[in-house]
Symmetry: C2
Subunit: 445 residues, 2 copies
């Protein structure tokens, strides 16, 4: 039985690998018309029962292939087991709308990699051209834009893909700030079981910043890449009747071997987020879902519960398994933009934690990973930091999931999407300049 | 791969079959000490990962066997796919605590079937003796008692088992009251696919009151009973590699054959609830989860989302798949007790609907089903109506799940449990007289 989101969700953990993120993105003409792929247009899962050709099920790999992802990314929990992230019992924190309309859609930008002959695009074209399921823009604490497409609605959670990792990294920074986690300690101080693995001589900080030398390939074009072993162990792919490999995230993580040195270069590998999630559980004696609820979800005044996909023993995927409503992603981004102060005025996250993220990592380590579209960036606490003049930083997940925080423009953009191409290399040429242009436009008097 | 709650959840749909509900309940001495079976005592699923002998997983049938059920009944969604029942975005309706303490635990009663030699028991002994996971008592609109045991906490949903059916029946009564469903119509008016089945000449009302003549056995002691086909079709049991039978609730329901006459006798069969759920979807053009959210959950001011277990095509189990927090079950019961007025003062459910439930069905049809402990009762809109001097009525699910509404005593009791014996015949001898005695005690000045 193949996991229904084989190509998509398993690929969720495949992010920006060097060979999939070059500036040579597919020509837009090669991609289907976004409007023609909406759930309304294609009618997935309508009716009781839906017609056979409109069904999306766990045991049919087609469910993970675009355009079915426009439905399945907003319906993950209807197909797999999950762990709930409780919002608490209080009122949701405010998310006030701007009182006067702000022109957003007409803001223009030039796609990355343009040689001068391409047409200038506008923000609305970026939204549709990246198969957006939902997008929300906040400026100076007010919602200036909020739109939903596809199967997504304001109250329905969407899979955050690797945006999940930035929550895990933030939780690590929070526990470190509280003195409950020592980033300079060896990982094995928390997880002795990792002694004979790549993580045997790595520090927690190296895991938090993904500078671990570990043999693990996320090239999902290669059927022998470790990403598939990972997905099989985590229950995202069938293990089959004669399967003898690892049967949980934990069992998989203890098989990882060292390759190269630690601390030298940024190397984006999802297993680091799973190891960090394990460290957090041991340091806090809480499940990742409960820890996220206590330290972030309840504090920012989320309006809906979130949830994680889990493996067969109930372990949350810290690498890409979080699902949230878009508005709560906005609350989280806005909380960070305000130095940790939530929209209800409470100091939800310590300012020192936010400062540490915003300051970023070492661009010299980042450059070794070779991202042509992310020149000058760094990676810190599982956040992508641009070091651009606005000091913008991002949480990023495949198929277009993003939190974009532009401190100078006092702007936060959150976007859920179902782009046909997983790697952000296909998204970035439109998304990055559009986000930057909007920040600049909002700053103009 | 066997369904982890094979004996328990599949059995959820096995209720009060005649041969399992006689007054000959197992002697209390034959049952394990409840305190020794608590999650704290036994340590299920503690640690990252939990020790192998403390693991509860979907693919190990032991997970469904007591005492593991004391954990698994409060963690259903961590092992199976689910559909969310949204609570809405408003504030939860009040559930005020009583200002002065009310003596509850010392209230005494005599177990049913006592011959005079047995000890009189008190309410506290009923609570522990029925392996209660959580119990809440309301009197005159105030919470006079609320306690949690085992893995259950105020914010964690517990499986409601066949209490689910009473929600489905109430929804049917609501749609009928709104003119959107005709109880006197043939089922085939809504589901033409059922033409050649037992339901081909049955009315919606006969389904609502379970007076349908259908060949379907819920005797789960018999491996050939249709309950297993039902569970396999609904994805609650593995379908196996060579399985060629029905693969969804709908595919199973169209196989059901007529046996006997309709309208003659009450015959408790879970498939009726699944057929009614299907009728509701067709009549409302909404999923059962969305319909429950719109018509009940948002209106009563629930404090948490609820959720349904679903089959492989996302169809909710209307027979036993609902999970809620105990406090929301109390809100629902209190709403009915107040003629449909929720605790926030809103008329959440039409009074005519509540009156129809409370009035009950025809005891002459009920008596033919032969429940020795439920003499004089009837069944209406998928509720169990006692016709006792207090006019009490109940929603009932195996292993002790219950809503007990005593209009004369102005009392509502809700209780989630994990009794080792599925059938309520093991629970009723303690539960029914204890509930009745508490109602009488609360009425005393």
């Amino acid at each position: 039985m193949a996991f229904f989101i084989r190509t998509a969700l398993a690929a969720a953990f495949t992010l920006l690998a060097v060979n999939t993120t070059s500036a040579q993105t597919p020509a837009p003409a090669a991609l289907p018309d976004p409007a023609a792929t909406s759930v309304d247009a294609l009618g997935w899962m309508k009716g009781f029962p839906p017609p056979p050709d409109k069904l999306i099920t766990f045991d049919n790999p087609a469910g993970g292939v675009f355009p079915r992802t426009r439905w399945s990314f907003s319906h993950v929990r209807e197909t797999v087991p999950t762990a709930n992230v409780w919002r608490g019992s209080g009122a949701a924190s405010p998310l006030p709308a701007a009182t006067s309309p702000v022109q957003i859609e007409a803001v223009t930008f030039k796609p990355l990699g343009s040689t001068g002959n391409e047409q200038t695009l506008n923000f609305a074209q970026m939204i549709s051209g990246t198969y957006t399921d939902g997008i929300l823009v906040m400026h100076r604490g007010k919602v200036v834009y909020e739109k939903y497409f596809g199967a997504l609605t304001p109250e329905r959670p969407h899979i955050a893909m690797s945006v999940t990792k930035s929550f895990v990294g933030t939780l690590a920074a929070i526990l470190a700030d509280e003195g409950k986690l020592d980033p300079s300690a060896l990982v094995t101080q928390y997880i002795p079981e990792l002694k004979d693995t790549a993580y045997g001589d790595a520090t927690v900080r190296q895991v938090m910043d993904m500078t671990v030398g570990v043999h693990y390939s996320e090239n999902y074009a290669d059927p022998k890449a470790e990403i598939w072993d990972y997905a099989r162990a985590g229950g995202m792919l069938t293990q089959g009747p004669n399967y003898t490999g690892p049967k949980s995230f934990y069992e998989f993580l203890v098989t990882l071997k060292k390759e190269g040195e630690h601390g030298d270069a940024f190397a984006y590998k999802t297993v680091n987020a799973e190891v960090l999630a394990w460290v957090l559980r041991r340091a806090s004696n809480q499940s990742l879902a409960d820890l996220l609820s206590e330290k972030i979800w309840r504090r920012i005044g989320a309006e809906q519960d979130a949830y994680f996909m889990v493996d067969r023993i109930g372990t949350e995927s810290g690498g890409g398994g979080l699902n949230t409503v878009l508005r709560d992603l906005a609350r989280f981004g806005e909380t960070l933009r305000n130095g940790g102060r939530a929209t209800n005025g409470q100091q939800a996250i310590a300012k020192a934690v936010v400062d540490d993220i915003q300051r970023g990592g070492d661009p010299a380590r980042f450059v070794k990973a070779g991202y042509p579209l992310l020149q000058g960036w760094s990676y810190r606490d599982m956040w992508w930091v641009s070091h651009n003049p606005h000091g913008a930083y991002m949480a990023r997940g495949i198929h277009g999931q993003s939190i974009y925080i532009d401190p100078k423009a006092e702007m936060v953009i959150v976007r859920y999407a179902a782009h046909p191409v997983a790697a952000n290399g296909a998204n970035d040429p439109l998304t990055l300049p559009a986000f930057q242009a909007l920040g600049e436009a909002l700053m103009r008097p």
